[in-house]
């Protein structure tokens, strides 16, 4: 099943790449707001664009982060029952969830493409402040983000399906440990014993 592994490596790689690229937007948000604060309090010249720019950065950042979170199994789920199931039982649940999820995301994708297209059609702009920036770029982020999360969830679906059907495959993610705890602070996390005890949710 080498093609499965190649596909999973490629798909995980795509989400990883997106996550790493957009993670810089956090620094951009800090920068934009610091400029606003400095120009308002020290130069007495509030900017017109900082609030809306930081909001748009926020919106784009968080939307696009969804696929990265999914790739790192970071979407919070309740494991009280699910976690107690045997491996194939969990895989069965995942197949149900990610297949119905894919349908829902496909609907979402279609709606969001229309939403963005309509904004492009009238070259929509924001009317909150005098700055009046165009809104179609930020609205275009929605279908892109939904498309990316749909792609990643297809990879999750395939993983669950193969596990359920007892088809053997090499999961490139198998040896990754997802933890909320800073690895720098906790070198011991790298030995398997502790890792098993670490909650993997966020």
């Amino acid at each position: 099943m080498a093609w499965v592994t190649r596909y999973l490596v490629a798909q995980d790689g795509l989400s990883e790449y997106v996550g790493r690229a957009i993670s810089w937007l956090t620094v951009a948000m800090i920068g934009v707001l610091m400029i606003e604060i400095v120009s308002r309090y020290f130069l007495d010249a509030p900017t017109l664009w900082a609030h809306e720019t930081s909001t748009m950065l926020y919106g784009a950042f968080c939307m696009l982060a969804g696929c990265y979170t999914l790739r790192h199994r970071g979407h919070v789920r309740s494991e009280v029952i699910w976690g107690a199931l045997p491996e194939r039982g969990r895989a069965f649940c995942d197949v149900l969830i990610f297949s119905s999820g894919a349908v829902v995301l496909a609907i979402f994708l279609k709606l969001s493409i229309t939403f963005a297209a309509e904004s492009w059609a009238v070259l929509e702009y924001s009317n909150k402040s005098m700055w009046q920036p165009p809104l179609y770029p930020i609205k275009t982020v929605i279908p892109i983000a939904v498309g990316l999360i749909l792609l990643q969830s297809l990879a999750e679906l395939l993983r669950a399906l193969l596990t359920l059907l007892k088809i053997d495959y090499d999961d490139p993610r198998e040896n990754e440990i997802e933890s909320d705890i800073d690895p720098e602070l906790l070198p011991s996390i790298l030995d398997g014993d502790t890792a098993a005890a670490v909650d993997t949710k966020r």
Binding site: A45, P46, E118, E124, N127, K128, M130, L135
Partner: protein
């Protein structure tokens, strides 16, 4: 069999008595066949999504303001009210009831995928500041919260403006992030408790009513109504609009009558005139957006000339 209409206003629970009358009237006149379910500002969709939601049918009728969706409907800002646009309720009403204006609005909203049902009229829309204002000159050293069209006019006098959502006005004023705001009339300012930090209310005589509302409907849902039901809805909405305006007027008057909430003053006539003249730039900018806008602005100019303001 009952038809239910989802009606979404941008306003909050403060107008509930008006809403209840509206709902009761519709129910009574239709013998219970027509019911209106009302949602307040932000409950189902954000105010700037009202047009979109109406055209898609997430809601059936929306009560909003053109400037919310001016990014999508070219005439939005003009019909919401440009500085210097009109100076009395009668004037505004006559303008919007006139055949050419009505046609333009109907056509613009049809293009945006909704049915234009009519207008409601706002009320006072003036400046509230922490320190007294005697002239435009006074404002040059103060930061004023204003939305885009007004901000542009103030900008031409080198008055610095900031945009903040209404919810942040109180804190921003009390801490000096801004020195004043143009957001509404005495009743709105009192409801936001702004009188605790800023008490100087300056009438600008720039625009009255300071904004107008628009009612729009989802075409499918609207056209499916019987003629009788359409008439009932149109009458009830007209009554709702009248009630709303009277409620605002009475509210503003009651704050004035209290006497100790705000100190009222009026911007010198000369300055008000200057504002109107400066506003022409904004009018022109709106006119440049589309052919339809140019036509509507032309009608607005004609009207202002007929009133002797230009």
């Amino acid at each position: 069999d009952t038809t239910r209409l989802r009606f979404h206003t941008f306003m909050g629970t403060e107008i509930d008595p008006i809403i209840e009358t509206f709902q009761d009237t519709v129910k009574e006149k239709s013998g219970g066949d027509l019911r209106v379910q009302v949602f307040h500002g932000g409950e189902l969709v954000a105010s700037d999504q009202l047009l979109e939601a109406t055209s898609k049918g997430s809601i059936d009728i929306a009560h909003g303001v053109g400037s919310y969706w001016s990014g999508q409907v070219d005439i939005g800002n003009i019909e919401a009210g440009l500085p210097g646009g009109w100076t009395s309720l009668e004037e505004a009403r006559a303008f919007f009831d006139s055949e050419p204006v009505d046609t333009i609005l109907t056509e613009a909203y049809e293009e945006a995928g909704v049915v234009y049902l009519g207008k409601a009229y706002g009320h006072d829309y003036d400046l509230l500041t922490k320190e007294p204002v005697t002239s435009l000159e006074d404002l040059k050293t103060r930061k004023i919260r204003a939305t885009s069209q007004i901000a542009k006019v103030l900008g031409s006098f080198d008055i610095p403006t900031v945009y903040l959502p209404a919810g942040e006005l109180y804190i921003a004023l009390s801490t000096g992030v801004i020195d004043g705001a143009i957001y509404g009339g005495p009743i709105e300012y009192e409801q936001l408790k702004l009188n605790e930090t800023a008490t100087h209310y300056t009438r600008l005589n720039m625009l009255m009513p300071g904004w107008t509302d628009t009612f729009i409907a989802n075409p499918e849902k609207w056209n499916a109504l019987s003629d009788e039901h359409k008439a009932i809805m149109e009458d009830a909405i007209a009554q709702y609009a009248t009630d709303l305006n009277e409620w605002l007027a009475a509210g503003n008057q009651s704050v004035v009558d209290k006497g100790d909430v705000f100190e009222f003053s009026v911007l010198p006539e000369e300055d008000s005139k200057q504002l109107t003249v400066a506003a022409q730039e904004v009018w022109q900018e709106e006119a440049d957006r589309s052919e339809r806008n140019a036509k509507l602005i032309e009608l607005l100019i004609e009207n202002a000339k007929a009133q002797g303001r230009l």
